[in-house]
């Protein structure tokens, strides 16, 4: 049995081994996980959370290395949680984000953790948010969450981050792509990376044109920044823009945002626990097997069967 309190104390002191073990325990959903989260929770909420998303190969990891270095120059400590996909066939994963962040690996003010999605959808792993929390509790000033190379609907990161940055590269598509739902809606800041390439200005103007016709949500108009993670061009400007967004959130948006998120999380936690407990209970019943057999025989369908199971369960609850 791991000594939970000792681990938590280690995390709060910024001890790397404790942070590493704690994230693993949460990631593996080991029995101590919930206890650890509840002990760390009061110490969280201090770090600024940056979400970085965008398609594979846009330069997210390289950009994070440059951003983190610039933040270090400004005296900030940095945590990074970088997510890569798990194979749906073997359950294995190749986590390659560190390759682009080599200069950070021995900096005592930086902690990087690679994480596999373990088949969680949405662009993050189930445990990503909690891993970010562990880094927050360990005293990092800024925690950067990098999603998997994202497609159009991997948008979960915007529920985790204070500022969401969508990283794009020139030549990925025209203004029609820019108008689509999903990814293109979640950016507080859009980065056109690889500005050293041709067509960077065209990409910037496509995105800007798209933003022109977007109905402003809550007073923040997303910004577009051109960067080259290779040369470092635009990195300082990007940090200025992040700061602008942070200041904007401070004017009152942040409290609202936080409350919204806490409620969403509460609903998620409740749904998970309710589902678990009710399903486990129903599975014990004879009716469960009977209905499963009926579905197999095409005598009923899953939805009607679920209705039946639930109706009975609700009736017994009422009687109590």
């Amino acid at each position: 049995m791991t000594d939970v309190q000792q681990l938590v104390n280690g995390v709060l002191k910024g001890d790397k081994r404790s942070i590493a073990r704690t994230i693993s325990i949460i990631e593996n959903n080991e029995p101590e996980a919930q206890k650890i989260i509840s002990l760390l929770y009061p110490e969280t909420g201090k770090a600024y959370l940056l979400g970085i998303t965008g398609p594979p190969g846009a330069g997210k990891s390289t950009l994070i290395e440059k951003l983190a270095k610039e933040l270090r120059n400004r005296g900030k400590t940095v945590g990074v949680v970088a997510v890569d996909p798990t194979s749906p066939f073997t359950g294995g994963a190749f986590l390659g984000d560190r390759v682009r962040m080599q200069d950070l690996s021995t900096d005592p003010g930086v902690y990087i953790r690679s994480m596999a999605t373990r088949n969680h959808l949405g662009g993050l792993a189930r445990a990503t948010k909690d891993a970010a929390r562990v880094l927050d509790a360990s005293g990092k000033d800024v925690v950067i969450v990098e999603t998997v190379g994202a497609g159009q609907s991997e948008v979960e990161v915007f529920r985790v981050a204070h500022t969401t940055i969508v990283v794009l590269a020139p030549g990925l598509g025209d203004d029609i792509q820019a108008i689509k739902a999903g990814q293109m809606e979640i950016g507080d800041i859009f980065v056109v990376n690889k500005a050293d390439r041709e067509n960077a200005n065209k990409a910037v103007s496509d995105i800007e044109a798209m933003l022109e016709i977007t109905t402003e949500k809550k007073g923040w108009k997303p910004l577009v920044v051109k960067t080259s993670a290779l040369t470092g061009e635009g990195i300082a400007e990007l940090l200025e823009r992040i700061d602008e967004h942070r200041k904007y959130l401070k004017t009152g948006e942040l409290d609202e945002l936080r409350k919204e998120r806490v409620e969403t999380e509460l609903v998620d936690a409740l749904s998970q626990k309710i589902t678990e407990s009710i399903v486990n209970e129903l599975k014990q019943k004879e009716e469960w097997n009977k209905l499963a057999q009926k579905i197999l025989a095409r005598e009923t369908d899953p939805y009607s069967a679920a209705d039946k199971l639930l109706a009975k369960r609700l009736k017994t609850t009422k009687k109590r």
């Binding site: 049995m1 791991t2 790397k16 081994r17 942070i19 590493a20 073990r21 994230i23 693993s24 990631e27 593996n28 959903n29 080991e30 798990t86 194979s87 073997t90 359950g91 294995g92 994963a93 190749f94 986590l95 390659g96 560190r98 390759v99 682009r100 080599q102 690996s105 021995t106 902690y111 990087i112 953790r113 690679s114 596999a116 373990r118």
Partner: protein, 137 residues
């Protein structure tokens, strides 16, 4: 705590210490371990012992695989083993591969390298080795 609990995955760092830039072999090994259901963290080329150990620490890995073709293993590996000890990572299993002369192997095992695999080792041998040793942690 049993490491074989549900949800527990073997985590491995595959690292290229030193100055040689040939990582075909390292990538083949990384891919084989990935296909065996493990989570493989690849460091990229030209890693210092400090970078490798720091990565193993932050990523909470069970196993480190070192790939080296430059001939500097007798200098770099002892440094890595020393740093692992210093950082409290004595329980991490280390194996090596690449171009390592037969006569160097006993010396490397003496400093704690669990196994040395030469060119032509079937990937299934590696996979079995990692699976057998990772959970002894």
């Amino acid at each position: 705590m049993s490491k074989k609990e549900k949800g527990r995955k073997i985590r491995v760092v595959i690292a290229k210490p030193g100055l040689d830039s040939h990582d075909r072999g390292a990538k083949v090994v990384a891919r084989a371990l990935r296909d065996a259901g493990m989570e493989v963290i690849y460091t990229g080329l030209r890693q210092t012992p400090e970078q490798i150990v720091e990565t193993a620490l932050q990523e909470d890995v069970d196993v480190i695989g070192l790939s080296i073709l430059s001939g500097a293993h007798m200098t770099l590996f002892p440094r890595i083993m020393e740093l692992l000890k210093k950082k409290g990572l004595k329980d991490v299993v280390v194996f090596a591969g690449g171009i390592i002369p037969e006569e160097d192997v006993p010396g490397l095992k003496k400093i704690g390298i669990k196994e040395v695999f030469g060119p032509g080792t079937p990937t299934s041998t590696l996979v079995n080795f990692v699976k057998e040793n990772a959970h002894k942690r």
